[in-house]
């Protein structure tokens, strides 16, 4: 298994290099530093100002190959910065991106961890519930509700939730942030509810399919034959056996705990990494955007390897060769 994990890590590293190469192509070759400068300071900026901007942001080097010093080119610099987690400075306001990441990770985790746990609890429970009553009216109604919920855009949940809670009911503030944990809880309640509402349709439907497939197996019939009730069959027999697809869904969602939810954060004024991404879009801050994509894919690759290892824990039959 160690050999397998090592091999996966090597392949994962190669994928990371691939991502970096892709980002270089996109943000240095396709959109050249000159384009980026124009976007930042305006289409009609004088050439001198553009050159000044390029020099100030350290883009005034050869793109790929520097004949005088092969280590001094944008390509080398791009890889070096990302792989040493240095990241450089923001294109918009010159703040070190690392500092931004450190500041934003906390609020993002504070939103995403409760959201993730609630979502998992709600969708697995509802999925089990609907699967218990498969092929009945409860099941059909459940699936219909799921499709209905899936068809509503997340924006509508956000706008609707804010309007209802903040303007009509006046329960708690619709957006904002504070340093003290007791206040944060009030600010987080609505985004968490909205997040669960926006995603439960798809999730419940997925888990239902998984559980219904499991209930057709022989061990379920055996469990019933020895006198297990519905609840016991579903929770003690079906749920552990359905662990593999559940794990796949869960672990792959972990990167987003850090990168945060772009929509929820910026809409509810949570100063996390999602808001940072939105600021980067609006401020044409390509440096920050590159870092966000890089971190997202790095975490995703690590999560995938972790999924494979967890498979062996969830199902002893799985052997990693």
């Amino acid at each position: 298994m160690i050999a397998y994990v090592l091999r996966r890590l090597v392949y994962g590293f190669a994928t990371v290099l691939g991502v970096l190469l892709f980002l270089f192509f996109l943000f240095f070759l396709y959109a050249s530093p000159e384009d980026i400068a124009r976007r930042a300071i305006g289409e009609k900026a004088p050439p001198a100002a553009i050159e000044q901007w390029i020099a100030n942001h350290g883009y005034d080097r050869p793109l790929v190959w520097n004949p005088e010093d092969p280590t001094d080119s944008l390509l080398v610099e791009h890889f070096r910065r990302m792989l040493t987690f240095d990241f450089g400075r923001s294109d918009a306001d010159d703040v070190p991106i690392r500092q931004r990441l450190a500041e934003g990770a906390g609020p993002s985790l504070a939103l995403m961890v409760p959201l993730f746990l609630f979502e998992l609890l709600v969708s697995v429970t509802l999925g089990l519930f609907v699967a218990t009553f498969r092929e009945t009216y409860i099941d059909r109604a459940g699936v219909a509700i799921c499709v209905f919920a899936m068809s509503v855009s997340i924006l509508l949940y956000i706008i609707g939730g804010q309007y209802l809670v903040g303007r009509v009911l006046n329960w708690f503030p619709v957006s904002g942030w504070d340093a003290s944990p007791s206040v944060i809880a009030r600010f987080l309640a609505l985004p968490v509810i909205v997040g669960v509402l926006a995603s439960f349709g798809e999730q419940v439907r997925f888990y239902r399919t998984v559980f219904v497939e499991e209930t057709a197996r022989d061990y379920v019939r055996t469990a019933r034959a020895k006198g297990c009730g519905d609840a016991r069959v579903m929770w003690r027999h079906v749920l552990p056996n359905a662990m593999i697809p559940i794990l796949t869904q869960v672990v792959v969602a972990i990167p987003f705990l850090f990168t945060g939810s772009i929509l929820l954060e910026s809409f509810f004024g949570i100063p996390g990494l999602g808001s940072m991404t939105v600021d980067a879009i609006q401020g044409n801050d390509f440096a920050t955007l590159r870092v966000m994509v890089f971190i997202g894919s790095l975490l995703f690759i690590l999560a995938q390897i972790a999924t494979d290892v967890l498979y062996t824990l969830a199902d002893p039959r799985v052997r990693l060769e």
Partner: protein
Amino acid sequence: MEPHVLSNLITAALAILLAAALLRARRDPLWRGAGRELARRRPIAVSVVALYVLIAGLDSIAWVDGHAPGAKAESGTLQGQARSVIDRLFPADFQERSYSAPLATHELYGEEPLLHPGKHLLGTNMIGQDVLHLTLKGARVALVIGGLTSAIVIPLALLVGVSAGWVGGRLDDAVFFVMSTLASMPTLLLLIALIMALGTGTTQVCLALGITGWVGLARLVRAETFKIRELDYVQAARVLGTSELRIVWRHVVPNLMHLVLITFALLFSGLVLSEVMLSWLGIGIDGSWGRMIDQARSELSREPVIWWNLLASSTALFILILAVNQVADAVRDVLDPRTALEAL
């Protein structure tokens, strides 16, 4: 060529293609059975989707009024502008100066009388455009997003997936690496990065959606091609001396079409919803429902509340997505060999 002429030509070409595909499907008993089953299972959803397609099609056919230049000088800005069939359902100068409520006779702020009192069924927006008109026009934008992106995704995924699965070896390794690299980047972030680099605009947004969207289908196609490659009928064709290209074209690709159709149906609603999110981030497509919803954000905090803009655009969006989701589920049930067997 003028944009409306190009749009007319494309619409005509698509209409002919659609008719040809339907005619051909009617002759094939398998496809005919599937189509009949689809219409039997989801009659309402199928007709709703057809209605949206019709509206979008009518909105794509446009022409310019008046042959003599300067003949209608009084219509000012509208002179020489192409208007589609949908535009022609409304008067040419169907615009007010500012917000007005549905069926109102006066402006919302300022109590100025409207130019067309009581005629705006769903009110008007900030610059006085008729909301019903804009909502109908949004159908075309939504279908263009889904259609154009699919036109990028499906050929690309088929080409890459089939060649990787058929040739195998080094090519397959390379393709697999590219796919896992693209798939490792979080979708929304990748989408944003692509649009930031490519720039905004319909083509760019669809291209970005295509680049993020093709990997899933290519994976399915690759795996299925692996399976088909070993099947008896392919071996038989090979023994008969059929050329590789002909085997792929006649025996492999047709057996992948159900995957393509299922993925297309499932992909479509995701694409339209993605554009709504992009609009909200300020990098969407002009005239889309996403833009209207985005605008409505600030309107809800006004006094009195402006709800018609949000209601119209989000209802139109919701009905389309719901219908497409239902059709997609039915398409999968009918065409997927696994679920189709269960249904028997």
